[in-house]
């Protein structure tokens, strides 16, 4: 009977076209779109800003040494003489402005400390980008002066930087290739299990009340535990399908990113692809562990969904109960970015939801150990069972079934 109940709920959800799009198609497509769209868009914008010629407002252009001016011009900067520079930048007429005092050249020639005023808007990306171009040019020019002075004093430029640091990356292949956004995988599993399972859970509990089918179901000889388990199973099926779709989307997006766009985008793009974790390294064992963890996380979330939505009288009411759950998923998922700071404590693997997210993050990074796996799985199974038991008890209560 459990499967009989589950089959009907699954059939019902499959026939709901809107639910299918939102819980299967969207998770499949959203990541490829984000992964391909973001680098294209950002890469394009940065490139344009870097290569297009930017006009900056200046006062005292004639006091600028010719050498520095050439340096700035090679950075694609051209100059416009203007007044009241601060207002111009403030109003956004120019991204940056440069105030060159009369004494600038003479002080430099005399070997004294000279100063420039650079006006930009902190917090405005374009303005900061252009300001940094000017700073780069100026420091290059300064370095030139220093080098010359040192040489004339018979010293090498190395005295300025007596020590060089060589960086060696000790992270494993899996860690490196999983990218800085690897935590997205467990995050998407959690969020999409919730989104996908929700459709079925709502329909199977509050939906039965709203349509007036629950009473008919309960006067039939089917056991209530079988009804609860059947509905749980159907919820789990869609929760899991949605999260598998999201993972497929991630893999698909990564593959597309590498094969189609990497070459076209040039040097900077490789880094962006890396950050987005486009090249997930997977071994059969890690896939197996990941799937098992996703299954158990999905069952916990499904049990949670069923036991909560059962109390609602209507769809709307059930939706309002479920909405805060996304925060329960998002908070630990966001915390995962800082998993390096707490990853070693075994107790983390006993906290439901958080444990699955941390464990999946470990798996993706290829640094999974035996004990955390066991702790996580045991905890997820235990909490799922507790929640299902609670759901079953609630389902027998008059106050829950016939709430007025």
């Amino acid at each position: 009977m459990v499967f009989h109940v589950a089959r009907k709920e699954i059939l019902s959800t499959l026939r709901d076209r809107r639910a299918m799009v939102s819980s299967l198609l969207i998770p499949l497509l959203i990541l490829p779109f984000m992964m391909l769209g973001l680098p294209l868009l950002l890469g394009g914008l940065f490139e344009r800003e870097q290569t297009s010629i930017t006009e900056i407002a200046t006062i005292g252009l004639s006091y600028l040494p010719a050498e520095l001016k050439t340096e700035l011009e090679t950075q694609n900067i051209s100059f416009v003489e203007a007044q009241d520079l601060e207002t111009l930048v403030k109003d956004g007429k120019y991204q940056v402005a440069l105030d060159i005092p009369k004494s600038f050249s003479t002080q430099l020639e005399a070997g004294e400390k000279a100063s420039l005023t650079l006006i930009s808007k902190a917090g405005n990306l374009r303005s900061e980008l252009n300001a940094s171009k000017i700073q780069d040019a100026v420091s290059k020019f300064s370095e030139g002066i220093v080098t010359k002075k040192l040489e004339s004093a018979g010293l090498s430029a190395d005295v300025l930087e007596p020590i060089t640091i060589n960086n060696l990356d000790a992270s494993s292949e899996a860690e490196r290739s999983s990218g800085q956004l690897a935590w997205l995988i467990p995050f998407f599993i959690a969020v999409w299990t919730l989104a996908g399972g929700q459709v079925t859970a709502l329909d199977a509990t509050a939906g039965e009340k709203e349509r007036g089918t629950l009473e008919a179901l309960l006067v039939s000889p089917v056991r209530r535990i079988e009804v609860v388990l059947g509905k749980f199973l159907a919820t789990l099926t869609f929760g899991l399908s949605a999260s598998v779709m999201a993972i497929l989307g991630y893999v698909l997006g990564g593959a597309l990113l590498r094969s189609l766009f990497l070459k076209r985008l040039g040097d900077g793009a490789e880094e962006i692809v890396q950050v987005l974790g486009g090249s997930l390294q997977t071994t059969p064992l890690s896939i197996l562990l990941l799937l098992m963890s996703a299954l158990l996380l999905a069952s916990l979330i499904s049990a949670l969904l069923i036991s909560i939505t059962m109390f609602a009288r209507t769809y709307k009411e059930a939706q309002s109960y479920v909405a805060p759950l996304s925060f329960v998923m998002i908070i630990p998922a966001v915390g995962l970015q800082f998993s390096d700071f707490f990853g070693t404590n075994i107790f983390v693997y006993l906290v439901p939801i958080l444990n699955a997210l941390v464990l999946m993050d470990d798996i993706v990074k290829g640094q999974v150990a035996f004990l955390p796996v066991i702790a996580t799985w045991a905890s997820l199974i235990a909490f799922s069972a507790l929640l299902l038991d609670f759901a079953f008890r609630s389902f027998k209560r008059e106050g829950v079934i016939f709430r007025t």
Partner: protein, 245 residues
Amino acid sequence: MIEVTNLGKTFSDVTAISNLSFKVDAGEVYGLLGPNGAGKTTTLRILATLIEATTGKATVNGFDIKKDAEAVRKAIGVVNGGMGLYDRLTGKEVLYYFGKFYGMSKVAIDKRIKELDELLSLGETLNRRTTGFSTGMKQKIVIARAVLHDPPIIFFDEATSGLDIMARRAVMNFVKAYPSQNRAVIYSTHVMSEVEELCNRVGIIYKGKLIAENTVTELISQSGERNLENAFFKLVERSGMEVSA
């Protein structure tokens, strides 16, 4: 076939029914007549094992509602006004879904659907998704689902509410045609004319108490009135309770 003894039910602070006793024999259609809030639905829900009585006891088809709830559920069919269907399933799929709970095979369900099709003229409702059904079409499938397993006992609770005259007639015709010597029916309603037309015996329920019980003709002559509606008010007055809306 149904025996109710001193049944009572209290919801936190509301006493829905108290000290309710009546019997329904095989072959009878027993009318449970009472205004809104009288306690009809509560009584039927207790008999259907959906909620538990606070006091008293009852047997349905010989089974105790508390000790043998599952046997009771196998023996009853329930139709009420607010019942709906699964809108993404066809009429037939709804019937298959429920048939299996009663341990019926697909062949048995198909055979039964044919019989019910003749009785209720289910027609196209069987193969269409129930989303677009009129209330009348829905109610036919609801009835077919309730009697799918050919239960010896059927409860109707405001089964005609929200139906137009044609659909109402169809439901009433079914209640007239379906009962037999080995079936017992409780027909709960606040509509006097339905009781007059359908029921052998009537229990008048008011504010959770059974204030009179007899055949329609006897109730009318007892009260000295001309019709059931007037008789109802007379009987309520006589019971010593205040008549309130």
